[in-house]
């Protein structure tokens, strides 16, 4: 890029960049709904006109037609396109009238939001009230749409492109496995459509062209259809006049680079002028032909959240997605389920309830486990027809799943080795086949290799083999007899990708993989990527020399290693999923590039790492592995509460927790996990009020490069993925930093690290405790690399190859702040408090000339409306009462008006802070917190939760606090729950003197 700005995507900031850069044109359709909304606002405010910036591609008028339901309906109806009966409403009363006219159930959609945020199905007045009032507050134009509900119709999507000369093509059509009623981002999606006839396919195709023409879109759009499963009747549900999650999926599913072509079309090229990037001889004006089947499954992470309901529906809650490719649906589906990395394969359903009523409930009320309940239902003898009636899932899909279940049963019963080939074609893993036959995974592997049952490597070529492909976009299948490529001798290195996004592993690791592999390529290696996440850059087929869009399981990686015979495999740049394969691959004779598997084990095995620290004379928090509740209690008593508990087996809820007293400990161990010899629990001292510091670095075995010493704003106890990070540090003394550098070098060299690493420390009262050391790329490395202007992945390549690396450290003269992004609004019921388990779903980072410059920009970027003087703040405090007084005083001085609840209010009063008392949500008296939050009379919520896991004792207090937090989230009001963040925030707003508009390049040049 010529220039990159790490700044909030809001009209205010974008205007300043325009003012500075004076661009000729602007693209609005490539940054999702955020960019699109920002662009529309810029146009509405006349800013684009003022600076003479031309909107390239789809015009603002067309974007507005898609978002404004009246214009949208009018345009489509004029062109004889069927749409659902619907009317807009700008108030609850209006919405009720519309719902009465249409008849319940109705679908409520919110204008101008992302991923169906705020929308829902209302079955009666009460549900309507809840959804509409929330929706109105979320809509940029305070508008909702009440619509005829087309539940259980087929949901079909078309990805359409159009150029300025009106040439139109369909890149891909997709069929949702889950019928209407579940957001497409929450649905299992299959490409191409499987149950449409030629007529249906082409009727919808022609309607798609009619729609894209009527709306005047230039570039790409996604059109969602509902198709009656009993006739050819259809309805256009929605048009996204921009690149979307679906278009990314369609690109990966077909090999057609939609974003690249859309950008060219925006610049004024026509489709016939452009080349198909795969064949490099045929035109881009064509429709990809698939000779395989693709299955996308969303990945949810409900387990991480307290109090969340696991039901899925009309708004997006998934945090990632995976895409399985196979020559048949069964193979693609089973691959995709393994790719989810949720600890089960498609037919692993033993632990699910076999109670028919429960199964029926689950089928009618889908959750993240729906697909597994379908399998369970089949295994328990429910018929395809019954399941179809409960779920609306097309019988074709259910029949295919039944085939899988039946084959498993047959093999298990007959112990038949002859069916191994069939099982592989249907997508079963060696491990599963082993379970059926009473063998181990490796025994099955050996056996089938002897029988020459091995997968074939196939190319995704956009043309179904009609033209030769120049690119190596590959997958493996048992539905084929011949490899499409040959494996010429060359130095090649396989880089294992990061797999599915989930909480804790997201785009950061993809950045690491891509940057690492590109540096390898630069050094003359053939870089081979294995990854299966359609949202990533690493799965762009033209970034690497070869891309295997494949599972990151031991079996599949070994299959690819057998074919490719690489020099070595890199497991340390893609996060936990590849990292976990290190030892297993090494045992199978695969050469791991970088740190030896044995040394990785020395860092990961708690006991080994602990004795290493002892030998280096470094402090750590006392810990022990315990096998009974008595031992756990005794040990906790000995080291003193609070303690951190890490069970090795989790029944429900989060994996880690903090106990403040013995009762907490008992409660947690009894309710959420269990303790036994086979499932020991690790307990360590939880250090309170410590500062958490992380070091990202690279080591080549001898020399150490320190990328950055990062300090968390929050005290230790908040997961590092949820913490707000600052480079350089804020409160750590030079003396301590010197020691941290020294310790870091000691640990890195003792572990003989060759590659990237991350060490976490806690600093308290001038003591430094080592928490853990990860011998792999860390979540913060892209952030560090951007702040210090040095790419840690490039250095890591040299380190792993044993070459020279820079030493020392770059300390920037600007600030880089990384802030987490949360999605509590979308997660029904989730409690937005932070703890030792990570719950954030994304992150943002901004650079600034001062701390407050960078910090406040980052907050804005994460979607927080910065409160200003004169605004109202609701304060409720469960602990840290004393510490908070000076902050609230400062807020009053800054001109804020304070609201509060009974106890906090009295306490503030006693300390000379006048405030207005509001009644708790549970009290039905007015003035009530609920009304103030719902009507947005509060601009900021400060809530420091009471900490206890002892529910019985203070249930009411906790419930009240929870309801305040939840309401704040649902009505989009900023909320802070940590003392350190509140202090930092108030300090920052009190000394902020305007925002710097500097590009990343300018910041880096200043280093």
């Amino acid at each position: 890029m010529d220039s990159v700005y790490l700044l909030p995507i809001t009209p205010e900031f974008v205007e300043k960049i325009i003012e500075k850069e004076r661009p000729n044109g602007i693209l609005l359709g490539f940054g999702g709904q955020t960019a699109l909304n920002c662009g529309v606002e810029l146009a509405e405010k006349g800013i684009l006109e003022k600076y003479g910036v031309k909107v390239l591609g789809t015009s603002v008028e067309a974007i507005e037609t898609c978002s404004n339901r009246d214009k949208f309906r009018e345009t489509l109806l004029k062109n004889n396109v069927s749409i659902p009966i619907s009317e807009k409403a700008t108030s609850l009363e209006e919405a009720k009238k519309v719902a009465d006219r249409i008849g319940y159930p109705v679908m409520v959609r919110v204008a101008y939001t992302l991923g169906g945020e705020g929308s829902g199905v209302a079955r009666d007045d009460t549900e309507l009230e809840e959804i509409v009032s929330r929706g109105l507050s979320r809509s940029r134009i305070r508008q909702v749409l009440v619509e005829e509900y087309l539940g259980k119709w087929k949901e079909i999507e078309y990805e359409v492109m159009r150029d300025k000369d009106d040439n139109c093509i369909i890149v891909c059509n997709m069929e949702n496995f889950d019928p209407m009623g579940i957001h497409t981002g929450e649905s299992i999606v299959v490409a191409p459509s499987q149950t449409l006839t030629n007529r249906e396919y082409h009727i919808l195709r022609m309607v798609s062209f009619k729609v894209i023409r009527a709306l005047g879109i230039i570039g790409e759009c996604n059109i969602q259809f509902a198709l009656n499963p009993e006739s050819e009747e259809y309805s256009v549900i929605e048009v996204n006049p921009r690149l979307s999650r679906s278009s990314a999926l369609a690109s990966k599913a077909t090999g057609y680079p939609i974003a690249y072509i859309a950008a060219k079309l925006a610049l004024g090229y026509t489709l016939p002028e452009l080349m198909n990037k795969v064949t490099q001889v045929t035109t881009a004006c064509f429709e990809p032909a698939l000779d395989y089947c693709v299955v996308k499954i969303p990945r949810w992470d409900f387990r991480k959240f307290r109090r969340v309901k696991r039901r899925i529906g009309t708004q997006m809650q998934s945090v990632g997605e995976v895409m399985g490719i196979g020559r048949c649906f069964e193979e693609a589906l089973q691959k995709a389920v393994r790719m989810l990395n949720v600890g089960r394969e498609l037919t692993d359903v033993e632990d699910l309830s076999f109670d028919f009523r429960k199964i029926k409930y689950e089928l009618e009320n889908p959750s993240d486990l729906r697909i597994f309940y379908v399998v369970k239902a089949l295994k328990e003898g429910m018929t395809v027809d019954q399941i179809h009636r409960l779920t609306g899932i097309d019988e074709w899909f259910l029949d295919r799943i039944k085939d899988i279940v039946d084959l498993e049963e047959e093999i298990t019963k007959k112990k038949s080795y002859e069916l191994i080939k069939d099982a592989k074609v249907m997508g079963f893993s060696d491990k599963k086949i082993g379970e059926m036959l009473g063998k181990t995974e490796s025994e099955i592997r050996e056996m089938r290799k002897k029988l020459n049952i091995i997968p074939a490597v196939k190319q995704i070529d956009t043309m179904a083999a009609e033209w030769p492909a120049k690119t190596n976009y590959l997958y493996l299948t048992y539905g084929g007899q011949e490899d499409d490529i040959d494996f010429k001798k060359k130095s090649r290195v396989i880089v294992l990708g990061s797999g599915t996004y989930c909480i804790g592993s997201s785009v950061e690791f993809d950045w690491c993989c891509v940057n690492y592999a590109l540096s390898l390529k630069d050094k003359g290696f053939e870089a081979i990527m294995i990854n299966y996440n359609p949202e990533t850059v690493s799965t762009d087929f033209d970034v690497m020399d070869k891309l295997y869009f494949e599972e990151l399981t031991l079996e599949r990686v070994l299959d690819i290693v057998d074919k490719e015979r690489p020099d070595s495999v890199v497991i340390s740049v893609g996060g936990q999923i590849p990292n976990n394969l290190a030892v297993k691959l090494s045992k199978n004779g695969v050469k791991i590039l970088g740190t030896d598997a044995e040394d990785i084990d020395r860092a990961e095995d708690r006991a080994k790492f602990s004795s290493l620290l002892d030998s280096l004379k470094l402090k750590q928090s006392p810990w022990s592995k315990l096998e009974t509740i008595e031992q756990a209690k005794d040990f906790s008593e000995k080291i003193g509460y609070p303690v951190l508990i890490r069970p090795s087996y989790v029944l429900s809820g989060a994996a880690m927790n903090v106990a403040f007293n013995e009762k907490d400990l008992e409660d947690y161990i009894e309710k959420a996990t269990y303790i036994s010899k086979e499932h020991p629990v690790v307990i360590s001292k939880f250090i309170e009020n410590g500062r958490e510091v992380e070091v990202d670095g690279v080591c080549n075995g001898k020399d150490v490069f320190i990328g950055a010493i990062i300090e968390h704003i929050e005290n230790a106890g908040i997961h590092s993925g949820d913490a707000t990070m600052s480079i350089p540090t804020l409160t750590i003394s030079e003396e301590i930093k010197k020691k941290i550098r020294e310790y870091t070098k000691k640990i890195a060299t003792s572990l003989r690290i060759k590659g990237p690493f991350n060490i976490q420390y806690i600093v308290k009262n001038s003591e430094i405790y080592v928490i853990e050391c990860n011998l792999r790329a860390s979540r913060s490395m892209p952030f560090v690399s951007k702040v210090i202007g040095k790419n840690l992945m490039e250095i890591s390549v040299d380190a792993m190859l044993g070459e020279k690396i820079p030493t020392g450290e770059i300390i920037p003269n600007h600030y880089g702040i990384k802030v987490p992004q949360f999605s509590f609004m979308r997660l029904y019921g989730a409690d937005p408090t932070l703890g030792v388990e990570m719950v954030s779903t994304g992150e943002v980072a901004c650079l600034g000339k001062t701390f407050s410059d960078a910090f406040l920009k980052s907050l804005i970027a994460s979607g927080i409306d910065l409160p200003k003087a004169g605004n109202s703040v609701l304060v409720t405090i469960g602990r840290n009462k004393k510490e908070i007084i000076p902050i609230i005083k400062k807020l009053v001085d800054l001109g804020f008006f304070i609201y509060s609840t009974e106890h906090t209010g009295e306490f503030l009063e006693e300390n000379g802070i006048s405030n207005k008392k509001l009644y708790k949500v549970s009290e039905s008296k007015k003035p009530n917190i609920r009304d103030y939050l719902v009507n947005k009379k509060i601009d900021l919520v400060i809530n420091i939760p009471t900490i206890t896991h002892n529910i019985d004792e203070s249930e009411k207090i906790l419930e009240d606090e929870y309801r305040i937090r939840r309401l704040a989230i649902e009505f989009g009001i900023p909320i802070f729950t940590s003392l350190e963040m509140i202090i930092t925030f108030v300090d920052a707003i009190s000394c902020n003197d305007g925002f710097s508009i500097k590009s990343l390049n300018e910041f880096q040049e200043g280093l």
Partner: protein, 341 residues
Amino acid sequence: MVGYTEALTDPSYSGQILTQTYPLVGNYGVPPYSLTDEFGMPLHFESNRIQVKGYVVSRLSRTPSHWSVKKSLHEWMFENKIPGIESIDTRFLTKKLRMKGVMLGILKVFEEDERVDLKEYEEKAKGIPNPNETNLVENVTIDSPIGYESGNSLRVVVIDCGVKFGILRNLLKRKVDVIRVPFETSLKEILSLEPDGVLISNGPGDPKMCRKTIKTLGALIEMDIATMGICLGNQLLALAAGGDTYKLKFGHRGQNHPCIDLRTKKCYMTSQNHGYAVEPKSLEKTKFEVSFINANDKTIEGIKHRNKSICGVQWHPEGPGPLETEFLFDQFLEVIKNTNR
């Protein structure tokens, strides 16, 4: 992935073994013939029977699912005594055809444990009479004219070289009466039907086999009757005008062939099924010129008479597949109306 009932009943596939690049076939089963349009033309078929000799797929759906479905693909083929084979790596087969061209093949059922001598069958395959050396059109045309009425005064004669229902549907939909005649109907007989327009249909095999039809067309194009050729019909027009045709290595099949209108430069997605093409140079000395070319291999996709209302396209504007070039039928009708005015 869609259109297998249409493809299997497409007379242009007469005499051939058809393979499908999309691996999952039969998902929506076989809809009944009784689903028709207002003129009684079946909606999901191109003729009254399965036309292919054999069918090769990767994976057959035995339990189809669709509201219109009456039977599975397997049952339908079984009833029609048309053999098929599944579990074939059809991508491997496609690549072979791409590299070596269309070839002869045998489908044979072996007993379990029977020893198979592949060499023997390779030899046998070489001895099979090449369908392209026979006049396949004879097998798919009709014996005597059939009339279809839409209640209009305009009349189009369709020269049936293996016409698809889709073409008839498109004419009827535009409210013209259609008279479908055998492919070797003489010019005199055609003229006696007083046509306002003539359409030369698609059909199987080498166009040069239709000697008599070419001769008839040679005389027809000297007259002032609006004429349209589709696929084989396009090639027959070129031959009748004195041009030449040649066999493509592996032909054009499928629903995603981009064709460029040389006049407007617009590009259309088209449904194609042809193994022969018009030789560009051969048109130079004729009264025809190129109107459409393939955006990928630049072969001729359409021709038109330099000064008469006679044109042909190499693809299938009637589908199955992309429908955006149905406007060609509108244009044809427009011309008919204008010449009659």
